[in-house]
């Protein structure tokens, strides 16, 4: 086998600490505590190793990355290494002085998450009172520092009907880009799927809004919107293919092919504390496991799209079918496709239960995301 292409970007999850408690958080349900986090020096070394390996971008995320007091140092290290830096933040811990300091350290772009268009709904979804107003203020600081701003929206049953207002909000705050992502159903979101899955009618209306806004904001705002998996016919090229373009570093230093990879139980991931990053990227078992097309079962193996979608999402395949090597059930050719459709149909039709908020208190005893849906849906239910 030839040496793999170098990664394009690294996703640095500096911490799992976060003042927000969004019930669809993509962090693993077993959150890392502060004492387990990598120190400043190690992050700076890893950033240099990533640039040396060929990465061009760093996405600095969490948890809430601004919960780290050394964020400016980490941004400066990325800038010195020549990486394009992107801060993905809830913004509720920011001050204007800190935004200025981050800009001076070389930060290139800021993404601020918004949970809804109005404070009452947004604060309820995030489980953080006063958060929405703080975010609006932080967005003004970001623009005042002349940093480009993206509005990051995770959409679901409880905010999807407000998409037009969210676009209006993005225009009002002079955002350069809006990113609309449907909840991905593993980890915390899987726990909360009955409260989050939108109806088909909601999705159709949202698609109409996005199409109208694409026309209206052409040349003024970049819009990224992806149709959710359960209403797609073919899977997305998750992460651009396993171990092809991205690597994710967890707060404790584990190197993952995607930020949700730890939801796949039974896989071992190497740490930057034990092995050079380049060696992990090129040779580690976890990265080699689903890299390329050799691992694929049918119907992927003989599919003409195998180098387009790379078999879709391994985490979703595991969550829905119990086997990470199966074809992503988002694909209509997957023998498990109907299970995904039934799940979306059944859950989106139910009454909306309360959220299980993402916090240290609510960490389940055993990771429930590892329970395959197939066995979850026994006749007894």
């Amino acid at each position: 086998m030839t040496a793999p292409e170098p990664p394009l970007a690294i996703l640095a999850e500096l911490t799992h600490r976060c003042p927000l408690q969004c019930p669809y958080c993509s962090n693993p349900v077993e959150l890392e505590r502060a004492r387990g986090e990598l120190d400043t020096e190690t992050w700076c070394r890893v950033i240099r190793e990533a640039a040396e390996l060929g990465a061009l971008q760093i996405h600095i995320s969490g948890g809430e990355p601004t919960a780290r007091k050394d964020l400016e140092e980490i941004v400066a290290a990325a800038s010195q290494a020549g990486l394009y830096s992107n801060l993905i933040t809830s913004a509720v811990l920011l001050t204007e002085a800190r935004v200025v300091a981050l800009a001076e350290a070389g930060l290139d772009h800021v993404q601020i998450s918004f949970q809804d268009s109005k404070a009452a709904g947004a604060d309820r979804i995030a489980g953080y009172k006063g958060g929405h107003e703080k975010k609006l203020e932080a967005a003004r600081w970001v623009r005042r520092a002349e940093l480009p701003l993206t509005l990051n929206l995770v959409v679901h049953r409880q905010n999807l009907d407000h998409l037009q207002e969210l676009f209006d909000m993005a225009v009002a705050m002079d955002a350069h880009r809006i990113e609309i992502a449907h909840v991905q159903y593993y980890g915390w979101a899987y726990e909360n799927r009955a409260a989050l899955l939108p109806s088909r009618a909601q999705l159709d209306r949202a698609t109409e809004v996005v199409e109208a806004m694409r026309e209206k904001l052409k040349g003024r705002m970049a819009i990224d919107y992806v149709v959710p998996d359960y209403y797609a016919r073919r899977p997305k090229a998750c992460m651009g293919g396993w171990a092809r373009r991205f690597l994710n570093i967890s707060p404790a230093g584990k190197v993952l092919p995607c930020h949700a990879a730890e939801t796949i139980t039974g896989m071992a991931f190497d740490s930057v504390l034990e092995r050079p990053l380049a060696d992990i990227w090129r040779n580690s078992e976890a990265f080699e496991r689903f890299r390329g097309t050799d691992w694929m079962p049918e119907p992927c193996r003989s599919c003409e799209r195998k180098e387009i979608d790379w078999g879709g999402c391994r985490c979703q395949a595991f969550a829905i079918t119990g086997e990470a090597a199966n074809t992503d059930p988002a694909c209509e050719l997957s023998p498990h496709h109907q299970v995904l459709l039934d799940l979306a149909g059944a859950e989106s039709g139910t009454a909306t239960p309360d959220f299980v908020y993402r916090n240290y208190r609510n960490i389940p005893e055993a990771p429930k995301s590892a329970t395959p849906v197939v066995t979850d849906r026994t006749p007894a239910e």
Partner: protein, 95 residues
């Protein structure tokens, strides 16, 4: 955003904050990076973008390119104007 940018001969084009042109030594090519976007400019686009330094106006950039590549100014003018407007529409060029 504050509105679409129109590029004219008098415009002084530059990369907006958050857009960077850099040489990628690993892949041996130039890349232009913007928020969640990465472009690999072709050799002609690269010559144009490199000259968008926030001091030269479009007319001067065209003159320079016509001189450097010993090409007909009208042809260069047409190509450069179209390219810069296209980049502006993508939000990766301003003036």
């Amino acid at each position: 955003m504050s509105g679409a940018v129109t590029i004219t001969a008098d415009s002084v084009p530059r990369l907006p904050r958050g857009v960077k042109l850099q040489f990628d030594k690993t892949r041996d090519n130039w890349v232009m990076q913007a928020p969640e976007r990465l472009f690999v400019p072709d050799p002609i686009a690269l010559e144009v973008i490199k000259r968008c330094d926030g001091t030269a106006n479009v007319a001067a950039i065209i003159d320079d390119l016509a001189r450097t590549f010993n090409a007909e100014r009208a042809v260069i003018e047409r190509d450069v104007s179209a390219l810069l407007q296209d980049l502006a529409n993508k939000g990766v060029m301003t003036a």
